[in-house]
């Protein structure tokens, strides 16, 4: 049967090899995921994998502790965790995470041992399905290739360094286009559709409210969500304009990745 396997972890070489093997040898559906709390949380909820393979490499307490986010998912049953690690990373993982149950596979990886375990998991999932006891019901989407693309965000800010940083924060979840001015934003929006606009409040030539006013006049973009990016010193001013311009809110910059993503999820779902 086709297992859904999520592969994550800092050891990208091993992760990549395993992904390729699982697709070519076993025909599994493989989901690659960045090893950050937000990505793990969102992807596990979205994909409901049968198995998560964590490929550890050069870990620290901070880097392994992100996997605590899986505790809730694995605690409910149905998801097996296999951790590929050397002795040092294995000890670090055991001592610094709160996960209750996982399987360790040492490096170099024995495909034989891994596949044996995968066969067991396949059997268990098959049995659960037949007995109706699985918490996860399998659904094979015949239109998998037609699934909608990732949400597309436009970020408008006159500071290229901030644009770069915001894209780095959001790229694993969204398609992100960056523009350095209101003029460029309006030009882009005249020919492209986006799902949300992050708009700097204070910019030269055309400020955020002026850009928003013009966006609202573009056919088809009257309702596009707009979130102002504001520095602390302009926050009060932004709050006052919320009534006049009705953006979907604001984010104080610089913003932590989790706060920014949470704000976007709040609006886009």
């Amino acid at each position: 049967m086709q297992l859904r396997v999520m592969v994550t972890g800092r050891n990208r070489k091993i992760a990549s090899d395993i992904c390729n093997r699982l697709v070519s040898d076993k025909g599994y559906r493989v989901i690659k995921c960045a090893s950050s709390k937000e990505a793990l949380f969102l992807r596990v909820l979205a994909e409901l994998p049968h198995l998560i393979i964590i490929c550890l490499g050069y870990e620290t307490k901070d880097t392994v502790s992100v996997f605590d986010v899986l505790k809730e998912c694995t605690g409910r049953g149905g998801i097996t965790i296999i951790v590929i690690a050397n002795d040092t990373d294995q000890k670090l993982f055991i001592n610094n995470t709160r996960l209750e149950r996982m399987f360790f596979l040492p490096r170099p990886v024995s495909l034989f041992a891994l596949y044996e375990k995968l066969n067991e998991i396949e059997q268990r999932v098959e049995e659960d399905k037949n007995n109706g006891t699985s918490l996860i019901t399998e659904f094979v989407n015949p239109n998998a290739d037609d699934l909608p693309p990732r949400k597309h965000l436009l970020v408008v800010d006159d500071d290229p360094d901030l644009l770069f940083s915001i894209k780095e924060q959001l790229r694993e979840f969204y398609e992100v286009t960056l523009v350095p001015s209101g003029k460029a934003a309006l030009k882009y929006l005249s020919g492209h559709r986006v799902d949300l606009v992050l708009l700097d409040y204070l910019m030269p030539e055309m400020n955020g409210p002026q850009v928003l006013e013009r966006i609202r006049k573009i056919n088809g973009l009257e309702q596009v969500p707009v979130v102002f990016l504001t520095g602390v010193t302009t926050k009060d001013t932004v709050v006052k304009t919320l009534v006049d311009y009705k953006p979907q809110g604001y984010v104080v910059k610089p913003s932590k990745k989790s706060e920014l993503v949470a704000k976007i999820i709040d609006i886009l779902g």
């Binding site: 950050s36 800010d157 006159d158 500071d159 290229p160 360094d161 901030l162 644009l163 770069f164 940083s165 894209k167 780095e168 924060q169 286009t177 960056l178 523009v179 350095p180 460029a184 030009k187 882009y188 492209h192 204070l202 910019m203 030269p204 520095g231 602390v232 010193t233 302009t234 910059k253 610089p254 913003s255 932590k256 990745k257």
Partner: protein, 211 residues
């Protein structure tokens, strides 16, 4: 990397804050590279705004620098930029006069400290081999160069910064004459600053010279 982190802390950088904003150590170092790489440009803009006594422009510049400094954990510097921002907003010329040299001195000092820990390969420095110069083994034919230039213009039309940067690097594999190499370097710089239309204009000029 551990040594670099320790040295950064010794420079007064609040690493927890910086890594908290950027999300990971790797992305934090990328943010540091950008912060240092943009020093020259930012400094020139501030000096120009001061010379013209353009307080509005100064406010916008230090407003951005305040956030960027905070993002890398340079909290003291961020506070100084914030004070300057308020001074510029209130047209407080006395505070601008007394506070600016101190803030700029700190700015310069932090960038130098970051350079000393080897975390500051300035992106798109003029001597970068990827920006306008062919490196051995990467040379491409005129036909290939035209194909790349077309793809690059399409990427810039789409405001795709990553594809644009990649294709600009590939286009450097064509043995352009020095003036076109310089234009390609400039175009790469524009792409790094997301100035797609300006970059496209230069690429069109360069593309006309492909044999």
């Amino acid at each position: 990397m551990e040594e670099d982190l320790k040295t950064l802390e010794a420079c007064g950088i609040d690493l927890d804050t910086g890594i908290g904003y950027t999300g990971s150590r790797e992305k934090y170092f990328l943010a540091l590279q950008r912060f240092c790489g943009s020093y020259g440009n930012n400094r020139a803009k501030i000096d120009s705004a001061l010379a013209r006594e353009d307080h509005e422009q100064l406010q916008i510049l230090v407003h951005s620098l305040k956030s960027n400094a905070r993002m890398i954990g340079a909290l003291s510097l961020s506070a100084k930029f914030e004070a300057l921002e308020m001074a510029a907003k209130n047209r407080d010329t006395e505070t601008i006069r007394t506070g600016t040299p101190d803030a700029l001195s700190d700015y310069e000092s932090i960038v130098k400290d970051l350079e000393s820990v080897g975390t500051t390969e300035k992106p798109g420095a003029d001597d970068s081999p990827s920006a306008g110069e062919a490196s051995e083994g990467d040379v491409c034919s005129p036909a290939k160069a035209r194909e790349i230039a077309d793809g690059l213009l399409a990427a810039l039309e789409d405001y795709d910064d990553e594809a644009g940067a990649l294709l600009a690097e590939k286009l450097a594999g064509y043995p352009f004459a020095p003036p076109q190499q310089e234009l390609l370097r400039k175009a790469s710089g524009y792409i790094r600053e997301y100035l797609y239309d300006e970059a496209a204009e230069l690429i069109r000029q360069i593309a006309e010279t492909i044999g």
